[in-house]
């Protein structure tokens, strides 16, 4: 032993006596953790001792660190938040087997995958001890528990194999009987910059032992002593020989980028490249002499997902704000990212808007037959319908002024991309509406479309505008 440790310096003695039963292995694990921390010379203020629920979860109460007992299964998730905000602190987690593998299984997998820097000690006593000895994910096959009176018919989970497969960079197993090895593993776990997983088998004479033919706690420690096989030796043994044995040792010890380090690196990149928020202030445009905005206008753009209708309505909203109107833009879409029905709506008004959903649009754009069939009849009498004749073939009259234009076809043939059909449609809408100004729409396109696509979109806008010009002659 390298350092003489005064255990009491690390204990919160006013919380004693512990709740643990005589013969329980948890106190030994606590002491091994203290030994490792003392040896590493860590400051008590820098240690986060985190636990969930169950017998194991009382550990932080007895340790004079920054102690937190969280909710059942969530210790790893709490510690994830803590480490992300304070990566300089050391997180030491004390979990139970049910806590880690059953209710907390998801967090266990993903923290290992992320390789976030924390040391998880699973105090595996094969049972839910605090509630009186129910079956857990690590209870041996056919083991007896208070909820498996005839024997556990589920095979047990090999926690270390799972940890390794999920990506933990340090993985080890030992028992409460092997105190020195345990202290060494915890020390190495803390030193590993990444997700360290240490499974420690811990006797539960009350919940597990007495139901499973252990006459007393001593027999349980003897069993841990006699049935363990070092991993190096186990490699030379046949599967049959390993039945009923507990393989101990280090199963994984590799190096791979740590999660918080990687985040901080990305953060630095973002800060250095100065992608800071652009000024979102929208500039108003002076309106032409004699021009008046409409008092109230409701617009619906409809078609299918992928036609860019939501972006088109955002551009329209942007343009309307530039023209000094009050705007409410909303949208609805199906679950499909592409191809489902899509609809976006705008209300433009000179007064405050108190209802945001369009009921009878003044202007309706339909980019599919389905949307024409569904919405055309809702048009306000005397309203304007623009239909993409590439897809809308049948247009039963509904008492609206209807303009047919092969919008998608124009986008493909004249602009080389179907992706700008929304901009073509906007150009048409601008012309037929008689109040959306082309140059404000151009400004709005510049504000809302990525730089490399601006030119093409503005071309498409103008193409649509002149097509409508022809239509209206």
């Amino acid at each position: 032993m390298a350092t003489e440790v005064k255990i009491s310096d690390y204990l919160r003695e006013r919380e004693f006596p512990t709740i643990w039963c005589p013969g329980c292995g948890h106190g030994i694990i606590l002491m091994a953790a203290i030994r490792a921390i003392a040896k590493l010379g860590l400051k008590k203020d820098d240690i986060l001792a985190v636990s969930g629920i169950g017998c194991s979860a009382r550990s932080p109460a007895y340790l004079d660190f920054n102690g937190i007992q969280t909710t059942h299964g969530r210790a790893i998730a709490f510690a994830t938040g803590m480490k992300l905000h304070r990566p300089d602190m050391q997180a030491l987690l004390f979990l139970g087997d049910g806590d880690c593998a059953a209710i907390g299984g998801n967090h266990f997998l993903h923290a290992a995958r992320r390789n976030i820097d924390m040391t998880v000690i699973v105090m595996n006593n094969y049972t839910y001890g605090m509630t009186g000895g129910q079956v857990s994910p690590t209870t041996p096959y056919m083991g007896i528990s208070s909820t498996t009176p005839l024997g556990n018919i589920e095979p047990e989970m090999n926690l270390c194999e799972v940890a390794k497969a999920a990506g933990a960079t340090f993985v080890a197993r030992t028992t409460a009987y092997h105190f020195n090895q345990l202290a060494t593993f915890i020390e190495r776990g803390i030193k590993n910059r990444g997700f360290s997983f240490i499974e420690c088998l811990s006797p539960c004479p009350t919940g597990f032992g007495r139901r499973n033919k252990f006459k007393n706690p001593v027999e349980m420690y003897q069993w841990l002593r006699d049935s363990t096989i070092p991993v190096s030796k186990a490699k030379t043994m046949a599967e049959e020989e390993l039945k009923g044995k507990i393989v101990t040792g280090i199963f994984n010890d590799i190096s791979r980028p740590e999660f918080v380090d990687a985040y901080i690196e990305q953060m630095r990149q973002i800060q250095e490249t100065g992608t800071a928020k652009k000024d979102e202030y929208i500039e108003m445009v002076p309106l032409p002499r004699g021009f008046k905005n409409p008092a109230h206008c409701e617009i619906r753009l409809s078609g299918s997902g992928g036609q860019g209708l939501i972006l088109a309505s955002v551009i329209l909203a942007d343009a309307a704000v530039r023209q000094g109107m009050k705007v409410a833009q909303s949208q609805s879409y199906g679950p499909e990212a592409r191809g489902g029905a899509s609809r976006s709506e705008l209300i433009l008004s000179s007064e405050e808007i108190n209802f945001f959903q369009v009921r009878c649009p003044d202007i309706l754009l339909t980019m599919t037959q389905q949307s024409y069939d569904k919405y055309a009849r809702e048009i306000k009498p005397g309203g304007i319908i623009v239909a993409d004749s590439t897809f809308v073939k049948e247009l039963p009259a509904v008492g609206a002024k209807t303009y047919e234009a092969p919008i998608s076809r124009i986008a493909i043939d004249r602009l080389g991309s179907v992706l700008v059909s929304n901009a073509v449609a906007l150009g048409i809408l601008a012309r037929v509406s008689r109040f959306l100004l082309l140059d404000t729409l151009e400004k709005a396109v510049c504000a809302q479309v990525p730089a490399n696509l601006r030119e093409l979109n503005i071309k498409a806008l103008n193409e649509g505008y002149s097509y409508a010009e022809q239509l209206m002659k």
């Binding site: 008590k44 920054n66 937190i68 969280t70 909710t71 969530r74 803590m82 967090h107 800060q271 679950p335």
Partner: protein, 378 residues
């Protein structure tokens, strides 16, 4: 600017430096925006494995000093309830944004609803304190997100911004205040030494000064009932009732600061419309239109929906004979309105106007109800 965008910018303006999220319609934009904005301001954005983890990480980050938030919708709001209760119990300041969509279960993921108003109050188990704010405009999505952070920090309580799909996806023309115009409140820190520090001993305002882990004050935090020193007790009912009373008392005694509301034309009102969130605007339009018809109607809009603004509401009721409550749910808040009327010994009748199809109630429908109530006199 979109509602969700205003909310994300509000969080940044409030000084938030931690966000954990999980994708869910119609709240996803908040996470998407903050995945870019957080690193810009030196804060953390993380997408975790589920909403249980998000809320856990938010509370964890708060306990080590972060201003932390998550944003979700119905199904995810169900999952965050677990650690929302923990946050209330250990008094961890944090903010949850819930963008309501049609439910129950998967419901109508893209459409608005107000059906989580009771879950926002009582969703997690136990008698826990909570503050819930309900915005009615894109600008308020910004302002009230800031307020949520400030209340959370001031009273060491989880604060919820309860909005809906309609407002979250609504784009309105807004002008946001400059950073220096935004008031920020930071949690009160202990002034005593670590040896003297009792983590759950309240100040004169009922709120314990908060030492964050890693600042030299080592103590123990637990969701178990605990005394002023933070020591858990499993049996002591005196400690339990003292703790729970204080958790509620710190909200009760500061109601004047926490309760925010708006009234319009209530002075001579014979009919009062109570509406919150996006529907408050429909209601306002209906009240304005009804006044034009000579009907004596007023509007009461609770901005702080929890705790329920009893006194302010009762004053707005005055001598009104009927209170109309339009809601996009089965009448959840109307039940609370009836409770408040009863507690205030008012004889006014409650008229529920409910919508279960995830469609915003049109001003015309509210006006129609006002006319009916006015005609029948009740």
């Amino acid at each position: 600017m979109q509602g969700n965008e205003a909310c994300a910018e509000g969080a940044i303006a409030a000084g938030a430096n931690f966000f954990a999220g999980y994708p869910i319609t119609p709240a996803t934009e908040i996470a998407e925006i903050l995945s870019r904005r957080m690193p810009e301001v030196g804060g953390i954005f993380v997408q975790l494995e589920d909403e249980l983890a998000c809320m856990a990480a938010v509370v964890g980050a708060s306990l080590v000093g972060a201003k932390a938030m998550t944003a979700t919708s119905g199904p995810g709001f169900t999952l965050i309830q677990e650690n929302l209760g923990y946050a209330a119990m250990v008094e961890a300041p944090c903010v949850v944004v819930s963008v309501q969509r049609g439910g129950p279960s998967t419901g109508l993921p893209t459409l608005p609803s107000q059906a989580d108003v009771m879950m926002a109050r009582w969703g997690t188990h136990g008698d826990h304190p909570i503050i819930v704010l309900s915005p009615s405009s894109v600008r308020e999505m910004f302002d009230l997100t800031v307020s949520c952070f400030n209340y959370a920090e001031k009273y060491r309580v989880p604060a919820i911004l309860l909005t809906d799909a309609l407002l979250a996806h609504l784009r309105e023309d807004v002008i946001l205040p400059d950073a220096e115009e935004v008031t920020r409140f930071d949690r009160k820190r202990p002034t005593v030494t670590p040896e003297e520090y009792q983590p759950y001993a309240p100040d004169e305002n009922g709120v314990p000064p908060m030492a964050c882990f890693g600042e030299g004050y080592r103590y123990y935090i637990t969701g178990v009932v605990h005394d002023e020193r933070g020591s858990p007790t499993l049996q002591d009912s005196t400690v339990a009732s003292r703790l729970l009373k204080r958790l509620h008392d710190k909200i009760e005694r500061n109601r004047a600061d926490i309760i925010r509301y708006q009234t319009e034309m209530t002075d001579d009102a014979e009919i009062l419309v109570v509406a919150y969130g996006c529907l408050a605007r429909s209601a306002r339009q209906a009240v304005i239109d009804a006044r034009k018809e000579g009907l004596k109607v007023g509007l009461f809009r609770p901005i702080t929906i929890w705790p329920f603004p009893d006194d302010e509401f009762l004053q707005a009721v005055g001598t009104a004979h009927t209170v109309i409550v339009p809601e996009m749910n089965i009448g959840q808040y109307a039940g609370e309105v009836a409770r408040a009327l009863c507690d205030g010994s008012k004889g006014s009748r409650v008229s529920r106007l409910t919508e279960l199809g995830s469609i915003a109630i049109h001003p015309e429908a509210i006006l129609q109800r006002i006319r009916e109530v006015a005609k029948n006199g009740h």
